[in-house]
């Protein structure tokens, strides 16, 4: 025989164009009847060249471009980016600005999670849930429009603070809206945890156990539903999250039901946080004067977007424009979990398994070219093992790139191997 025989089955392409996907992405599954034997994900249908475009615009202009990376977590990306820039520029933004950024951030989480609940309902054919959650989501969308001037791209951040203040009237408006939303969310928690047909579709589907969640690097609610207590707001507080009391919601269901529960309970946490923010809003200016040119330097900023940890890297060179901007959207961390979760599942569960990570594919697509001369990407002066002698046509394997990355950082004093151990041990 020799070679392994090709597994018998029907190959079905879900995407790049498919009603289950709100954005183009390609999932290819090998089916035996309704059962999934193999699955593969292919990214890259949405590459927009945003990182490169950022290098050709000033910081102020980049802010609005970065905001358009994602239509749902627009504030997350813009805050992550501007935090990195402010760190390089050595700007300390006023406390009131921090609170305002958190307020918009939490409101954004509310609208994103409500959106997810509706999408999850739609993917399992429960359109009634979609209609009701999205109807109630209008409350927070209208609120965001009233506070910032737009329903989606809030444009509230600026270098050195925020652009829009919150008046006393608006504070009351926020509190009223939060009361309405809290009552509605309680109802949806009831629906999600009691409706038989919904539980049948969510429970035990898309299993991801605790160890796999850590090893595959899941982030956000996807990880927290596998009882990985990982939340940037707690682990590495940015803005003023260290001043706000809140719980990191986790669940040990390890399935989509758990992810739904985590998101619903996070909504309740967010309502309390919003109330705290409104009650403890410090007085003072909302922005400090910021220079147009940012001194040379680099910074990484982490932000807990509704979908998980969002990482932005900015390198400045002293001019008005950044030299390099790198965005790691949470979906990129979660998308490799999807293939794992699809294994031995049913075709019928594919849409909801994909939707359960709350994917945002257009945020995710970046380009990495690993081809041609290895010297071109040989940043640290060491050649790739096994590549040095292969001439200019050599390509690095993923394992080589990974080892290279670990080596590169070890020489700079960061030991990822040890860091991984501590996460595995202390993560729970």
């Amino acid at each position: 025989m020799g070679k392994n025989p090709e597994p018998r089955g029907v190959r079905v392409a879900i995407g790049p164009q498919h009603p289950a996907l709100k954005e183009p992405e390609s999932f290819s599954v090998l089916l035996a009847g309704e059962k999934i034997l193999e699955s593969g994900v292919r990214l890259g249908y949405n590459h927009r060249g945003i990182e490169k475009a950022c290098e050709e615009r000033t910081y102020v202009q980049d802010l609005y471009l970065i905001e358009r990376i994602c239509g749902i977590c627009s504030h997350s990306h813009s805050t992550a980016f501007i935090s990195a820039v402010e760190e390089i520029a050595g700007l300390e933004i006023p406390r009131r600005a921090k609170y305002l950024r958190m307020l918009i951030g939490e409101l954004e989480r509310v609208h994103s999670h409500l959106l997810w609940l509706g999408v999850a309902g739609h993917e399992v054919g429960f359109d009634t849930l979609l209609m009701y959650t999205w109807r109630d989501r209008e409350v927070v969308m209208d609120l965001l429009a009233a506070l910032t001037g737009n329903r989606v791209n809030y444009g509230v951040n600026t270098m050195g603070g925020v652009r829009r203040d919150v008046s006393e009237d608006q504070k009351k408006q926020v509190l009223t809206a939060v009361d309405i939303l809290e009552e509605r969310t309680k109802y949806y928690i009831g629906v999600a945890t009691q409706e038989t047909t919904l539980i049948q579709r969510l429970s035990g589907v898309g299993k991801l156990n605790h160890e796999d969640a850590i090893h595959l690097g899941a982030v956000g609610p996807t990880a927290r539903a596998s009882s990985v207590k990982r939340d940037v707001r707690k682990d590495d507080p940015y803005l003023a999250y260290d001043e706000i009391p809140f719980n990191v919601v986790t669940s040990d269901h390890n399935d989509i039901y758990g992810r739904a529960v985590v998101r619903c309970l996070e909504l309740m946490e967010s309502y309390n946080m919003i109330r705290f923010i409104i009650a403890n809003m410090p007085e003072g200016p909302i922005a400090v004067k910021a220079p147009r040119k940012v001194p040379a330097g680099e910074a990484i900023s982490r932000y807990e977007a509704p979908r998980g940890e969002d990482v932005h890297y900015v390198r400045a060179n002293g001019s008005e424009k950044p030299e390099r901007v790198k965005v790691r959207a949470p979906t990129l961390a979660n998308v490799q979990v999807v293939s794992h979760m699809l294994k031995d599942g049913y075709l019928a569960d594919l849409p909801i398994v994909v939707a359960a990570i709350d994917p945002c594919f257009s945020c995710t697509d970046r380009m990495i070219a690993v081809a041609g001369d290895m010297a071109a990407i040989n940043m640290g002066g060491t050649a790739f093992p096994g590549c040095a002698d292969a001439g200019s046509k050599a390509r690095a394997t993923w394992e080589q790139v990974r080892q290279h990355g670990i080596e590169f950082y070890r020489r700079r004093g960061v030991d990822f191997a040890r860091l991984n151990e501590t996460f595995t041990a202390g993560g729970r």
Partner: protein, 147 residues
């Protein structure tokens, strides 16, 4: 505790409630006061510093000098992303974001609007669309080359 048909009460109640749907084109929607819609330009306040042009993320604004201390603005609303950064940037408050949001047009030329002495004139009406586009985009590479 599982209950099939958990949403029964809610669903039945909806039958007797007003639909949440807004009959949009027939019922006009009021935007909130802070809404960042179509921009308005007050030519009498403009000092020609061109900071708005510099900050505009999508290159939608062109400020032209038409006489001694007299300026006019050409806005390309097809390019504008309605961030209203120009409104914040303007030191003389010559720009203002309005609540107008119904901007869809079949003719791109109608989205290029020249503001002269406070009264907006659609470029397509004032001049052929092609020339208006040319004046709107031509100064860009020049200003880049200067820097």
């Amino acid at each position: 505790m599982k209950r099939p048909g958990r949403m029964f009460h809610e669903v039945m109640r909806s039958m007797f409630r007003k639909a949440a749907t807004v009959r949009y084109p027939f019922v006009k929607v009021q935007m909130p006061a802070r809404f960042r819609g179509r921009l308005k330009f007050d030519a009498s306040k403009c000092i020609g510093c061109k900071l708005c042009m510099k900050d505009c993320p999508s290159g939608a604004i062109t400020i032209q000098k038409v006489g001694d201390k007299r300026f006019e603005a050409v806005f390309d609303f097809a390019r504008c992303m309605y961030c209203a950064q120009c409104v914040d940037t303007c030191p003389k408050k010559a720009l203002e974001a309005t609540g107008e949001f119904e901007l869809a047009q079949l003719d791109r030329g109608k989205l290029i609007v020249t503001f002269k002495n406070d009264c907006p004139v659609a470029a397509a009406a004032a001049a052929p669309a092609g020339t208006a586009t040319a004046t709107a985009t031509a100064p860009e590479p020049k200003s880049d080359a200067h820097e």
